[in-house]
Symmetry: C2
Subunit: 460 residues, 2 copies
C-alpha cells in the first residue's frame, strides 16, 4: 500500500480529550467534528504526532506531564485562548469567510477585538508554533500539517525558526473573494502565514481560486506555494455500519411510527451559515403556494446547538425558534405539525433521519464542503432527493444529481422542495443511486491520499 | 478643442425635472446628484439627447408631449417603477455592491422580490431600451452612454435590436468580487447586459478588476468589451465660487461663532454604506482614550436624509440618532456638546463646514468614489486633515495625503482622529496643498475627456 510517513498534525481540537471518571481515573474521549474524524485514519498508517489545544482540566494535566502517545496538548493562557477562540476565530474569521457580516454595522473592531488579536490569536498561534518546533527537534523529517482557520499565523512562525521544514495547511471553510473586513495588518498576517507553507489545500477549485486572487490583492505578486483542492468526505463503511446499529434502528422505528407521507429533513449546527431560518420560510412558502401538501408533508429539523457563548449564535437560535413557531401557528392543525424542531446533540437521531428523508434540504449560505450532503445519500432508504445550495463545496461534486438552489432565493427553494416532492420515482432512484455511488467512490481515505500525494510532491 | 460628438446619455435621473408653479406655469428644476452634475458639462460641447425616467406628474405630461429640448423622459408604469427602484435597485443591488447584507438572514428573495425583478427591473430596463432604439432611429450615429446600476439590462436589449450601435456603460458604485447573493439567472442577466456594451467604465482599477473576475465566474471565458477606469471628480471653479457665495459665508459665520477649538466634520447621506454609526463610536473612543480633547473638539455631522421609504434606511437613521445620544450623554457637559448632528438637506451648510474642518472624516464601508473627499480639501481654509477609508475609490488617488483607515476598525479610526488632531501645521499644510492641487488638476472635465476618448476608441 502507500508509504509510511512521518507527520505532525496540528489542529485546534485533537483526536482525544481527557477527563476523570467517578473513581478519579483518567479516561480518554474521542474528539468530535468532521475534521478529526476524517484525519483519524492517518494514525493507523503513518507515524503521527498530533498537536492540539488542551481543552479540559485533565488535558492540562496531560499537557504538564509532557503528553505522549502521539498526542501533544498545548495548554494556553485562559484569557488568550478565549480571545483567540471566542472573538477572533468565532465569530470574526468564521463570519468573514462565510460572508455573514452586515458590514454596514458589524464587525466593530474595538479595543477588545484588538486585544483578542494581539494577546489571543497571535499568542496562541505562537504557542502552537513553539510546540511544532519542539516536535521537529524530535522528528526533523516530519511534514507539518496545519488545519483550518484557527492557525493561519503559525506557519510563518515555524518557517522563521525552521526554514527547511515541509509545511502544509488545509483550510476546511470557504475562502472568500474579499478580505477587506480585516484591517490591512491582520489580512497581511493571515495571507503571509498561509504563504509560508509549501502546500495550501482547500475543498474546491472555487476556494482555491479565491485564495490566489486575494493573495494578489493583499500582498501583490510574488512566489506562491502549491495550491491544491481535494474534497473532504466521509467513511462509508463506518457510516453504513452505524446506520444498521441497534441505536439507530431504534430511533428510526420511532420516526417511522410518527412520520407523515413525505418527510423533509435538515441536519445542521445552529449556525447562521447554515441558513436555517430561510429554510423554514421556504417551507412556509411551499405550503402557501401548494396546498396539496398540507397534512402530507412535514419538515424535521435536527439542530446541534453551536457556539452558545457567542452572542450572534444566541440571537440566531432565537430567530430559528421564532420562525418555527410562525410556520406551525400559521399552517398547523390537529394531527399535523408542519415543522418538528429538535435542538439537541444526537448524531444517531440524525442518521435515523437520513434513512427516512424524502427530501434532504442543505441550503447553506456558504459552506466549505457540507458533509450532510454526503452522509444523507449514503444511507437513505427512500430514494430521497437532495436539495443543495450552490454555495456549498459539495455542490461542485454533487450538483448534477441534486436540485441546486440559491441560498438567498426563498421562492426558488420553495419551488425546489415542490419539485423534489413531486419527482417521479425512476428519476429519484437514478439520482439517489448516482449520489451514493459517487460518495462511496470518493471517500475520506481518497481525500487523504490526494493530499498526501501533494505533500510528497513538495517534500524536500 | 475636442471634437463635437453625438451622444445619447441614459440614466435613471435626468438633468431636469418639471413641475408647475403657483400660477400653473411649467417650471424646470435642475436635477441633483454627483452623476448629473458631472455629466452636465457634456451638454455644452456635444449634441446630447438625455433619456431619463419621468419622476414627477409634470414630467409625465412632458413625456406624453414627446419630450424635446434634448431630454426624453420615459413614463414608466408606477408599480413597475416602484419594484425597479425601491426593491431591486435599492436596497438589493446597492446592498450587494456595497457588501451591506448580513447574508445569514438577508436578503430574502421572496415572491415580491421576484415580481419586482420580472415586472419591475426587467420591464423598466426594457422601456429604457425601447426609448434608446427610438432615439437611435433619429440619430443613428450617436453613441449610447448608459449610467449606473439601474440600467444593467438595457444594453443587451438595445444590442439585440441594433447590433451595430456603439454602447458604453459607466458604473458609479463599487463592483464587488462576489455576485452570488443574486440567483444565477439574475447575475447572468446583469453580466450579460454589461457585456453587451463596447466599453464598460468604473472609477478605479479595483472595481474594474473585480468586474473582469466576476465575468469569468458568472459567464465563463469569452469576448470582453473594453474595460476602463476613470475617477469621477468635481468642478473646482464652480465649487470655489460657491464657497465664496453670500449664502455660504453667512452659514460659515454662524459656524465660526459657535465652533470649538477643533472641529471634526462629516458630510454624508444617511446610508449604511457611509458608516456613520461606527464614526460616532470611533469619536467616543477618541474621547475615552484621549481625555485632553474633552471640551476642545466636537464632531459636526451633516447628513442628508436618504431613501426614507426603504426600511433598512429608516432603521439606520434610528441607529444614528441613538449613537449620537449615547456619545453626548456620556461625555457632554455644560458648554460642550461632543456631537452636533444635523439631518437635513442643506448643501450650502456642507460647503461652509468644508471650509471650517480641522479633520474631515470619510470612513465609508465601500464607496465607488466619494466626492466629499474631493470637495472638502478643495475649499478648506484650515489646513484640515482628511481621514479616509481604504474602501473608497477616492483612496486610490488621495490615500498618500490622507490618513487611511479600515472602515471596520473603530480603534484604528479613533487613533487616526487623534493623529489628525495632533498633526503639526507644516505637515498638515503639505498634505492639504497636495490634496487641493490633485483635485484641481483632476477635475470632472478631465474624467469626461478620458471617458470620451475611450468611447472614440470603440466607436465604429
Amino acid at each position: 500500500m502507500s508509504v509510511r510517513r512521518s507527520l505532525i498534525v496540528v489542529s485546534n481540537r485533537g483526536p482525544v480529550t481527557y477527563a476523570r471518571d467517578a473513581e478519579g481515573m483518567r479516561v480518554e474521549r474521542r474528539g468530535g467534528g468532521g475534521l478529526v474524524t476524517a484525519l483519524r485514519g492517518l494514525v493507523h498508517h503513518h507515524d503521527v504526532t498530533w498537536i492540539a489545544s488542551a481543552t479540559t482540566d485533565e488535558d492540562r494535566v496531560v499537557a504538564a506531564e509532557g503528553s505522549g502517545d502521539g498526542v501533544v496538548l498545548v495548554a494556553h493562557d485562559a484569557a488568550a485562548y478565549d480571545g483567540y477562540y471566542n472573538t477572533i476565530a468565532n465569530p470574526l474569521l468564521w463570519f468573514v469567510q462565510h460572508s455573514l457580516w452586515a458590514l454596514g454595522t458589524r464587525p466593530e473592531l474595538d479595543e477588545a477585538t484588538h486585544r483578542a488579536w494581539n494577546d489571543g490569536y497571535v499568542r496562541v498561534n505562537r504557542a502552537f508554533a513553539d510546540a511544532v518546533v519542539a516536535q521537529l527537534d524530535n522528528t526533523p523529517d516530519a511534514t507539518v500539517f496545519f488545519h483550518d482557520y484557527h492557525l493561519y499565523l503559525a506557519p510563518a512562525f515555524v518557517r522563521e525558526a525552521r526554514p527547511d521544514a515541509t509545511l502544509a495547511h488545509f483550510v476546511h471553510i470557504p475562502w472568500p473573494s474579499d478580505w477587506s473586513a480585516l484591517p490591512e495588518e491582520w489580512r497581511r498576517a493571515v495571507h503571509t502565514g498561509l504563504l509560508s507553507n509549501d502546500l495550501v489545500g482547500f475543498h474546491t477549485q472555487r476556494w482555491a481560486r479565491n485564495f490566489l486572487r486575494t493573495c494578489d490583492d493583499v500582498l501583490g505578486p510574488g512566489p506562491r506555494p502549491r495550491v491544491a483542492h481535494h474534497a473532504i468526505s466521509v467513511d462509508p463503511a463506518e457510516f453504513e455500519e452505524l446506520a444498521a446499529s441497534d441505536a439507530v434502528l431504534e430511533r428510526e422505528a420511532r420516526l417511522v411510527a410518527t412520520r407523515p407521507e413525505r418527510l423533509i429533513v435538515r441536519v445542521d449546527r445552529t449556525d447562521p451559515s447554515k441558513n436555517i431560518v430561510r429554510g423554514f420560510h421556504a417551507f412556509a412558502l411551499l405550503l402557501e403556494r401548494h396546498a396539496e401538501w398540507h397534512g402530507r408533508v412535514s419538515m424535521l429539523a435536527l439542530l446541534d446547538p453551536s457556539r452558545e457563548r457567542v452572542p450572534e449564535y444566541v440571537a440566531y437560535r432565537e430567530e430559528i425558534e421564532r420562525a418555527v413557531r410562525a410556520v406551525n401557528e400559521r399552517f398547523g392543525r390537529p394531527g399535523w405539525q408542519p415543522v418538528d424542531l429538535r435542538i439537541e446533540d444526537d448524531f444517531l437521531q440524525s442518521v435515523a433521519a437520513y434513512k427516512q428523508y424524502d427530501v434532504l434540504l442543505v441550503n447553506a449560505v456558504y459552506d466549505g464542503m457540507n458533509l450532510v450532503a454526503k452522509e444523507g445519500p449514503l444511507v437513505n432508504a427512500r430514494e430521497g432527493v437532495l436539495v443543495l445550495s450552490e454555495n456549498t463545496g459539495a455542490h461542485d461534486e454533487l450538483g448534477g444529481w441534486a436540485i441546486g438552489v440559491s441560498p438567498f432565493d426563498v421562492l426558488g427553494q420553495a419551488e425546489a422542495l415542490h419539485a423534489a416532492l413531486s419527482m417521479d420515482v425512476a428519476e429519484r432512484r437514478r439520482r439517489a443511486e448516482a449520489l451514493r455511488e459517487h460518495v462511496r467512490g470518493n471517500d475520506a481515505a481518497r481525500w487523504l491520499r490526494g493530499l498526501l500525494d501533494d505533500v510528497d510532491g513538495v517534500s524536500t
